[in-house]
């Protein structure tokens, strides 16, 4: 799909954050991701769409090596973050995950206070030298998570006591608190109602100014609303990857068209 020389020049022009080429993922004997190559640009939102079980979440999890926690999972191919191979034996996945934050499908706040939820990441990475600095980070992150106004009076309340949408924004705020360079979101709105979804989408749009965001979503409308680039996965293959506007108006591949028009999926 991409020729090597093109890739070289692309790095120069497009400010590529992640570049993956020839990625294969196996779960035991199952071949879950088949030879996927994709480039994710900085300060843009990239959406992964596709039917259930097509491998979009699996691929997302290879980007911060969350698949390492699954014993039977095996990843081959080349994935580079700013040109550095993230599967290099020298890489400690812990350091990588500090740079590549993740928000999960189900809101999963720690059963601790709102403050501690946000402060956990900065604490373990030593980002704050004093209580005042930590307070500042917490406030900044909660503001970025667009939840500050709702929780500023009850930072000591448990994070699990918030509503679903608030919990998810708390999780996003928690992810940005560690100052990642890339934010991976695995169906962040699937457990939320339309109003909470709208809030999170608005938030994603704001986050784009400082991070590269990759979002996996089931909702094509959502992909169309929030992303600049869209990748369509089908049965473990990357079928098409292009500007969102092009994918939704003039897809090249027949399968993409069938999917976005609702004939398959």
């Amino acid at each position: 799909m991409y020729d090597a020389p093109n890739l070289e020049t692309a790095v120069e022009q497009k400010n590529i954050k992640f570049s993956a080429s020839g990625v294969q993922v196996y779960y035991g004997d199952t071949h879950a991701i088949k030879d996927v190559s994709v480039e994710i640009e900085d300060k843009k939102v990239t959406a992964f769409i596709g039917p259930s079980g097509c491998g979009k979440s699996t691929f997302l999890r290879t980007l911060n090596r969350m698949n390492d926690t699954i014993d039977i999972c095996r990843v081959t191919g080349d994935i580079r973050l700013d040109g550095e191979d993230i599967y290099d034996p020298k890489v400690d996945p812990v350091q990588l995950r500090a740079k590549v934050g993740m928000v999960f499908q189900k809101p999963n706040p720690f059963p601790k206070s709102i403050y501690d939820n946000i402060a956990y990441g900065p604490r373990i990475h030593g980002l704050a030298n004093s209580k005042a600095e930590l307070d500042e980070i917490v406030e900044k992150s909660l503001r970025r998570g667009a939840i500050w106004d709702e929780v500023k009076d009850r930072l000591d309340a448990p994070g699990t006591g918030l509503s679903g949408g608030q919990q998810q924004r708390l999780c996003i705020a928690r992810a940005v608190a560690t100052e990642p360079e890339v934010l991976l979101m695995d169906e962040p709105c699937s457990a939320l109602d339309p109003i909470a979804t709208a809030q999170v989408e608005e938030l994603i749009d704001e986050l784009r100014t400082s991070y590269s965001v990759v979002i996996v979503t089931h909702s094509m409308q959502q992909a169309a609303r929030v992303s600049q680039k869209t990748a369509f996965f089908h049965l473990g293959n990357l079928v098409e990857f292009d500007d969102t506007s092009k994918i939704f108006t003039n897809p090249t591949d027949e399968r993409t068209e069938s999917y976005i028009t609702g004939r398959i999926g």
Partner: protein, 447 residues
């Protein structure tokens, strides 16, 4: 297909009348509920019988019959030379004190004007055999007490105690050489004037066991200390080892045949009869490692082996119950595996771990069989341990072992004490289990 399921002449049925199938199903459900209620009722009845039997039989052990006497510590008998030399006074054995007791009885009888044909020797036989020793200890504590008249409260002989508790009757002593009908008549007279009375006996709870001849003086306190030191050993070893093993197996260990084998064997260990651990302890800790016999340290080590599988299994279960999303959240933030376990998973699993540990301890507290083999039964520790080292290394017994020991002794007075011991043991077990339930309720977090 449709022909079979939709007959042409379908009978219109009312939902107000029950058809045969529904009636049958309802009857089956009613029967099943009745079985369940019957089962619970049977269980409850057993429990009531158990508790009433235990309390009924054991309650007496907490009360004891005491005889109050004024004894003149006659100088002529106790310190013939009159120079208050402790070495000389020590030479007077308990036999030297016995006459003083006889005199004290006679004085008391005269003073109260009680009429009896009983000889003074038969009167002093009402007292426990520990009475002269009690006086001697009192005198040796401070020799200047010689010559004074002091009021003593002595334990009554176990037969007299049994008479006041209704265990011994005039009929039942027909063949008993230790007590006569005349003595019982005398006891009745003394009870009337308040010299002999039954009251709460703290020594049963805090005191030491006594020899076969003095059931009235036996207490469970020292055995309780033995149990305490054993539990200390179990807690200090089984909790850290068990939790560390579970965390490693559950969170870090690769899933392969080796960990499968380990897992199966831990489950098997939980089912191994406790006496097997006892003989293992005898072979390894006493015969091979030469640790002292009958020591709570060895008992604790054996019970640790027994409790470990319980703790490991319950810890692993509570680690498994922590939702994986919490681990993902921590890892996604760049926490290391160990940070995610110690900062997030372990605190959430803690109530379950604590509950498992307390239940394991309670199980170990009531365990008797392994103690048989390492010599913690049949030993009479007369003094409570005075330090951690002596508590761990000096020969001692344990509560269930003490109960077993009492239950097999001949005198029925010991039988009563065995029941009393069971009450104390049950109080401990119920308290521990209640604490476990409260901890679980209080610290259980929902997400």
């Amino acid at each position: 297909m449709t022909d079979a399921s939709m007959p042409e002449n379908a009978v219109k049925t009312s939902i107000h009348t029950l058809d045969a199938r529904t009636k049958k199903r309802n009857a089956a459900e009613t029967r099943f509920k009745a079985y369940g209620i019957a089962a619970i009722a049977a269980g409850l009845m057993m429990l009531v019988v158990l508790v009433t039997t235990i309390v009924g039989n054991g309650f007496g052990a907490f009360q004891q019959t005491f005889i109050t006497l004024d004894v003149e510590l006659v100088e002529k008998k106790l310190d013939k030379k009159g120079n208050r030399d402790i070495a000389d006074i020590k030479k007077v054995s308990t036999f030297g004190y016995a006459p003083l007791l006889r005199t004290a009885f006679v004085t008391k009888v005269d003073e109260l004007g009680i009429e009896t044909d009983l000889k003074s020797k038969s009167m002093s036989a009402l007292l426990s055999k520990s009475a002269p020793a009690q006086m001697r200890d009192f005198v040796l504590e401070d020799v200047s007490r010689i010559g004074q008249t002091v009021e003593f409260t002595f334990l009554a002989n176990s037969r007299i105690d049994g008479y006041l508790k209704g265990r011994v009757t005039r009929e039942s002593i027909a063949n008993d050489k230790n007590v006569s009908v005349e003595q019982l008549d005398f006891v009745d007279q003394m009870v009337e004037v308040g010299v002999i009375e039954k009251r709460f006996n703290i020594d049963f709870i805090i005191g030491a066991d006594a020899s076969d001849q003095r059931p009235e003086a036996a207490g469970i306190g020292v055995a309780m200390a033995g149990s305490f030191f054993m539990m200390l050993v179990v807690l200090c070893l089984a909790l850290p080892i068990g939790v560390a093993a579970s965390i490693y197996l559950e969170e870090f260990a690769p899933k392969n045949w080796l960990t499968d084998v380990i897992e199966v064997n831990i489950s098997n260990l939980a089912a191994v009869p406790s006496i097997v651990f006892g003989i293992l302890g005898l072979a390894v800790f006493i015969n091979y490692m030469h640790l002292p016999q009958s020591a709570p340290l060895v008992g604790g080590l054996v019970l640790t082996l027994m409790t470990l599988p319980t703790i490991i299994i319950s810890t692993r279960a509570s680690l498994k119950a922590v939702p994986p999303s919490i681990r993902d959240a921590a890892l996604g933030l760049g926490a290391s595996k160990m940070q995610s376990v110690f900062h997030h998973v372990l605190p959430l699993a803690a109530p379950g771990i604590l509950t498992g540990t307390i239940i394991g301890l309670a199980q170990a507290l009531g365990e008797t069989a392994p103690l048989l083999l390492i010599g913690m039964i049949g030993f009479i520790a007369s003094n409570p341990p005075d330090s951690l080292a002596s508590g761990l290394l000096d020969p001692n017994s344990a509560m269930p072992a003490q109960i077993y020991e009492w239950a097999k002794r001949a005198d029925p007075a010991f039988y009563e004490r065995a029941w009393g011991g069971i009450i104390i043991l049950l109080v401990f077990l119920v308290t521990m289990n209640t604490v476990a339930v409260i901890l679980r309720r209080r610290f259980e977090r929902r997400w």
